[in-house]
């Protein structure tokens, strides 16, 4: 319960901070709507229409009330409600994050288990060394290189960008989502793999595993029934942290693959100085991250009943 409260408080403060930062943005919102050649009078009119002539305090209160009712205001460039622009894009970004997480789980966890099981063998060294590659490649480099290799020439298996809804064509959806998801997976996988390996090694050295082995429990049973449940606990946290990383990295990956998600919207909003859109497109992923952390904490206690929420440390 205390965790939920903390999450709500952070959400409130993050939204305040976003409001404060966007207030010091250079350039008036009215000039965004009308262009720089607008007359004095037209600017006054628009400012009144947008409510910019109110006091800062009033603007802030209205902004908070808006947030609480999921009303993010109206876009300065398209004149449409922001919520309508954000929602479909956020759903697409979530799809991307889910496919990435799925790809990560089916690749990183088995590889991590193998590396831990065959510690210090050649396979372990190969796996561990290759994680350096994933950790060291900025996602914009991976994305660009994937784009270069798989969308032109003899290996052109994928379209160079865009999006097709899954309801329209499953294959098309997969084709469009695969490369962006893969460029995110390369990074996330490296972290999840390393965490899985190191925590599983620690678990395999613990006393209860030794006891199980001495009892004559089958080695594969030791691994899957005894070790994995504890050994995978920290992996849950790493997955949640990486969800937050993804919410930032999508800005770059979506821009490169022209994937119409929330990240591409951030870049658009910055380019157009579209304040309400920018506020919402930073807030929504941040809120999602806070929510992901909360979920990870709850999953954690569910997997490990020894940990109770509320008294951390």
């Amino acid at each position: 319960m205390k965790r939920v409260l903390t999450a709500i408080v952070s959400l409130f403060i993050v939204s305040t901070a976003v409001f404060a930062i966007t207030q010091i943005l250079p350039g008036s919102a009215a000039t965004v709507v009308l262009g720089t050649a607008a007359t004095e009078e037209a600017i006054k009119n628009i400012e009144a229409q947008l409510g910019l002539n109110r006091s800062l305090w009033k603007q802030y209160l209205d902004y908070l009330v808006g947030l609480a009712t999921l009303n993010f205001g109206v876009s300065l460039t398209s004149q449409k409600p922001v919520i309508g622009m954000i929602l479909p894009r956020f759903v697409r970004t979530l799809q991307l994050a889910l496919v990435t997480t799925g790809l990560t789980i089916i690749t990183a966890i088995p590889l991590g288990v193998i590396a831990a099981k065959k510690r210090n063998s050649k396979i372990d060294h190969l796996i561990t060394t290759s994680t350096y590659l994933g950790m060291s490649l900025p996602s914009f480099v991976t994305a660009t290189l994937l784009l270069l290799v798989f969308t032109s020439g003899s290996l052109a298996f994928f379209p160079s960008g865009g999006y097709i809804p899954i309801s329209q064509s499953v294959v098309g959806w997969l084709q469009h989502i695969f490369l962006p998801a893969l460029s995110l997976t390369v990074v996330v996988m490296a972290y999840v793999l390393r965490q899985t390996r190191s925590s599983l090694i620690e678990t395999l050295e613990s006393k209860y595993i030794r006891t199980a082995r001495l009892k004559g429990v089958d080695e594969s049973k030791v691994l899957f029934n005894h070790a994995l449940r504890n050994g995978l606990l920290p992996t849950v946290t790493v997955l949640a942290i990486n969800f937050g990383w993804m919410m930032g990295a999508v800005v770059i990956v979506e821009e490169i693959f022209r994937y119409p998600g929330i990240g591409e919207l951030v870049v658009l909003a910055i380019r157009n100085r579209d304040l309400p859109v920018l506020q919402a497109s930073v807030l929504v992923p941040s809120a999602a991250f806070i929510f992901a952390n909360l979920t990870a904490d709850i999953v954690y206690t569910w997997l490990d009943p020894r940990i109770t929420l509320g008294d951390n440390q």
């Binding site: 903390t6 408080v9 952070s10 403060i13 993050v14 901070a17 976003v18 930062i21 966007t22 010091i24 943005l25 250079p26 350096y132 590659l133 950790m135 060291s136 490649l137 900025p138 996602s139 914009f140 480099v141 660009t144 290189l145 784009l147 270069l148 032109s152 937050g244 990383w245 993804m246 919410m247 930032g248 990295a249 800005v251 770059i252 821009e255 490169i256 951030v266 870049v267 910055i270 920018l278 930073v282 992923p285 941040s286 991250f289 806070i290 952390n293």
Partner: protein
């Protein structure tokens, strides 16, 4: 427990010995430094040995592949990529190191105060840090840069602020356990000021985890810096950093993949080297501190046998 207060000196190896041990005992540290130091030297002095000026355009030789004349080829304006890579290295590395330094300067005092005073101070400071961390790194950097307008200085500020909570957290957690040690209680009993206890007594004893964390952060800082300038929020032309070079090269990637490949490779090598170095330092310094700990426990009984 700090050596200067003891009447009897502990036989500690000199810092020179410790440094040589550190560099050569752990192969990861050797490899990491073996890559980073030459890269730093090349970015500073590299342009003295390259035949072309990084800013001179050669309109005839645009997007050339690697050749005898241009070792790594030329970019879209016919500038020599090798010299531009060296010049870009200066910006990229400068951003990485200074923003990490800023995160250390901001984060370490926050962590010390938080871990030393505990209670409400700790609660408030750590909640603030949590909140900074709850905004995804790249989004926060982006937001700060949009508000402050993009320049090299602001880029460093943005990355520094984004990474502050991580250093504060690490420092806090080690300070918490350290402040229960008897040497801290002794210093309190002597009536030393809080500032003295935090910075002169505790800080020297918690420096290892701080060094480890910041060496890992340098790689991230380079990555975030490159990502932000890839989005056009960096220092901008004509002074290239690798992220910006990649974003320009992307427009010509099908006709001239070399242009794209070189800065990508440079980034990969440098970030990988810092990651390897960070891992190596973690192993080496952890081994060192645990050895020292054992030694210090022995001191209370007899002289350290080491």
């Amino acid at each position: 427990m700090t050596t200067k207060e003891n009447n009897w000196t502990v036989d500690r190896p000199s810092w020179k010995q410790r440094a040589t041990n550190l560099v050569f005992a752990n192969p990861q540290v050797t490899i990491g430094l073996g890559i980073i130091i030459p890269v730093i030297l090349l970015s500073i002095f590299g342009n003295m040995i390259t035949p072309h000026d990084p800013l001179t355009t050669h309109p005839v030789d645009r997007l050339e592949p690697p050749s005898g004349q241009y070792p790594l080829g030329t970019d879209h304006l016919g500038r020599d990529i090798l010299s531009r890579l060296f010049l870009g290295g200066q910006t990229t590395l400068l951003i990485g190191f200074t923003s990490t330094a800023l995160a250390v300067i901001l984060g370490v005092p926050i962590g010390l105060v938080s871990g030393y005073f505990k209670g409400t101070t700790d609660e408030v400071l750590m909640r603030i840090m949590d909140i900074v961390m709850s905004v995804p790194t790249l989004l926060l950097g982006l937001l700060i840069l949009v508000a402050l307008s993009s320049s090299m200085f602001n880029l460093i500020m943005a990355i520094g602020i984004v990474f502050t909570p991580r250093l504060a957290r690490i420092t806090r957690s080690v300070t918490l356990s350290e402040s229960k040690q008897s040497y801290v209680l002794a210093a309190k009993a002597r009536g030393e000021s809080h500032i003295h206890i935090m910075f002169r007594e505790i800080l020297p004893n918690v420096k290892s985890p701080i060094i480890i964390e910041s060496s890992i952060r340098v790689g991230y800082a380079i990555m975030v810096g490159a990502s932000l300038s890839f989005l056009g929020l960096g220092s901008g032309p004509p002074y290239p950093d690798w992220g910006f070079m990649i974003s320009v090269a992307r427009q010509y990637m099908y006709s001239s993949p070399w242009f794209l490949l070189w800065p990508s490779l440079a980034l990969l090598v440098v970030i990988m080297a810092t990651n390897i170095l960070g891992d190596g330092l973690k192993d080496a310094l952890n081994a060192e501190t645990s050895g020292e700990r054992r030694c210090l426990i022995q001191i209370t009984i007899t002289r350290c046998s080491k």
